[in-house]
C-alpha cells in the first residue's frame, strides 16, 4: 500500500485549476506513481483522475496490469473542474476520464473494459468464457452500485440512518465474502480479474468504514480481509492506492467541506 511521502519525484503535470488547500498539497499527489505514468505515452493514453478516487484507481490498476504507459493528469476536484475535464466528460463532469488519441472514454468500469478490448494483446481483466464474463460484470456492477454509496452514508450520517448504513455494509461484505469463497481472487481460474480491480480500491477505505461503523472486516468477512491483504501486495494495486490513514484524513476533509460534524 502506498503511504504518501511529502516529496515527490514527479508531480503529475496537471492542467487543472489551481490548488487551494496548501496543507494537503504536499501529500496529495501520487508520489509513487509509476515512471511510465508521467511520460507522454506512445500508446497515446491520458488519464484525468483524482488521487484518492477509487474509481480512478481501478483504471490505474488496469493500466498497470497491462503495462500500458500513460500520462496521468491530476484534477484538483476540491478546487473545481478544469476545462479539459468539462469538455471530455460534459455529461457527468467526473473523473476518471481516459483519453485515447484525444477521444474520451468515461466511467471506470467502462474504461477498464475498453482497455481490454482496445489492447487485446495485453493481459485481460475479463476472462474469455461468456458466462464467466457475465458473472464478472454482474459482480463488478454489484460493487459499483453498493460499496461507495453505502460507505458514504456510513461517514455522513448519524443515528438511525447510520445504523442502517452499517447493517447494509455488513450485508455487502458478507455477500462479497460468499462470492469470493475460497478463491485467491474473485477472478478464480482467471486469476486477478475484473472484479478484483473493481473492488481493490475500496480496501484502504475499510479502516474508515470500520471506524465509523464500529465493526471489523476481519470479523465480519475474514476471507475478504485476507483477500484485501493479498491484493494490496500486488504491484499494480500497491502502486495505485493510498494508505488507509490518507483515506481517513481525506474523509475528514470532505466532512469539513460538507459541514458535517
Amino acid at each position: 500500500m502506498l503511504s504518501c511521502s511529502p516529496t515527490s519525484t514527479h508531480h503529475p503535470h496537471s492542467t487543472s485549476s489551481q490548488h487551494s488547500h496548501p496543507q494537503t498539497q504536499t501529500d496529495r499527489h501520487p508520489s509513487n506513481a509509476p515512471t511510465m505514468a508521467s511520460e507522454k505515452s506512445s500508446s497515446d493514453l491520458t488519464l484525468l483522475d483524482f488521487w484518492v478516487s477509487p474509481f480512478g484507481q481501478r483504471v490505474r490498476i488496469a493500466l498497470a496490469e497491462k503495462s500500458l504507459p500513460y500520462e496521468y493528469v491530476e484534477e484538483d476536484l476540491l478546487a473545481g473542474k478544469s476545462e479539459r475535464l468539462l469538455q471530455s466528460n460534459p455529461v457527468h463532469k467526473k473523473i476518471p476520464v481516459l483519453l485515447h488519441g484525444g477521444k474520451p472514454v468515461n466511467e471506470s468500469l467502462i474504461i477498464v473494459q475498453y482497455l481490454d478490448e482496445a489492447f487485446p494483446d495485453t493481459p485481460s481483466l475479463l476472462p474469455s468464457d461468456p458466462y464467466a464474463r457475465a458473472q464478472a460484470r454482474f459482480w463488478a456492477d454489484y460493487v459499483d452500485k453498493k460499496v461507495y454509496d453505502c460507505g458514504s452514508r456510513l461517514w455522513k450520517l448519524k443515528g438511525e440512518p447510520q445504523a442502517q448504513a452499517r447493517a447494509e455494509m455488513l450485508e455487502i461484505l458478507k455477500t462479497l465474502e460468499t462470492e469470493l469463497g475460497d478463491k485467491e481472487f474473485f477472478g478464480g481460474e482467471h486469476g486477478f480479474g475484473f472484479v478484483d480491480a473493481a473492488f481493490a480500491p475500496f480496501t484502504p477505505w475499510f479502516m474508515s468504514y470500520e471506524k465509523y461503523g464500529e465493526f471489523k472486516v476481519a470479523e465480519v468477512a475474514p476471507k475478504i480481509a485476507a483477500w484485501a491483504e493479498r491484493v494490496g501486495k500486488r504491484e499494480s494495486v500497491a502502486k495505485s492506492l493510498y494508505s488507509p490513514d490518507k483515506v481517513y484524513d481525506f474523509i475528514g476533509v470532505l466532512k469539513k467541506m460538507y459541514g458535517i460534524e
Partner: protein, 232 residues
Amino acid sequence: MSDAVELIGTFTCPIVHRVEVALRLKGVPYEFIEEDLGNKSALLLKHNPIHKKVPVLLHGDRRPALCESFVILEYLDEAFPDQRPGLLPADPLDRAMARFWARFIDEKCWGPAWVALWAAEGEGKEAAAREAKANLALLEGQLDGKRFFGGDRIGFLDLVASGFAHWLGVYEEMGGTRLLAEDGHPALWRWAREYAADATVRQCLPDREALLAAMATSKERFVSAATAMARK
C-alpha cells in the same frame, strides 16, 4: 449441458423487454416465465437473491442465473456470436459509448422520469420532469440522424432505450405527466415509432390496454418507490 433458455420476467416491465427482443433477434428459443412483481415467487428469489428483480436468464444448467439486463444482453451477444451478431458495435470506442449511454438511460433518464411520473406534487416532481426531459434530449443527440441508435439495425442501445418507445406512453397516461412528445424530442419521437414498428419488436410489444389493466394495481408501488427516490 442442456441449452434451454428460460427468461423470468413480466410483460409489464420494459427492462425485461430488452432481453426478450435480444433473444428473438438472435433466434434463440426461450420459455418465458411470467412473474408477479407484487408477489415475488420462490423461483425469482432463488435465482436473484441479491436484487430480487427481473429479468433473470437461465441458460441450461449454468448457475447462478444471469441477472441485470446489461449483463444479460452482453452475454447473449457473446454466447451466440454467430446469430445476428453485433448487438453491440464492433469498435471498442463505439462499444464504450454504447455502454455509457445505456447507464445514462437507466440512471439519468429513467431515474428522474420515475420520480416525475409518480411522486406526489411538491416532492421534487417538477425538477425531476425537467431533468428527465433534458436528459432525454441528450440521449436523442446520440441518434445523430441514424435510423436507430445502432445504425441501420436495432442494437444494444435501442434495446436499452426501448422502454421510451412503448411503456413510457402508458406510464404517462397512468400518472398524468407527459415527458416525451413530438415537439420536445422530435428525433426520439421518430425513433420510437421506427422501433415499435419493427417486425421482431412487435412480437414482444404488449397491447397498451393489457398493460394499463395489468398495472392498475401497481401504481401504489410505483408511487412509494418514486417518493423514496425523490427524498434521496
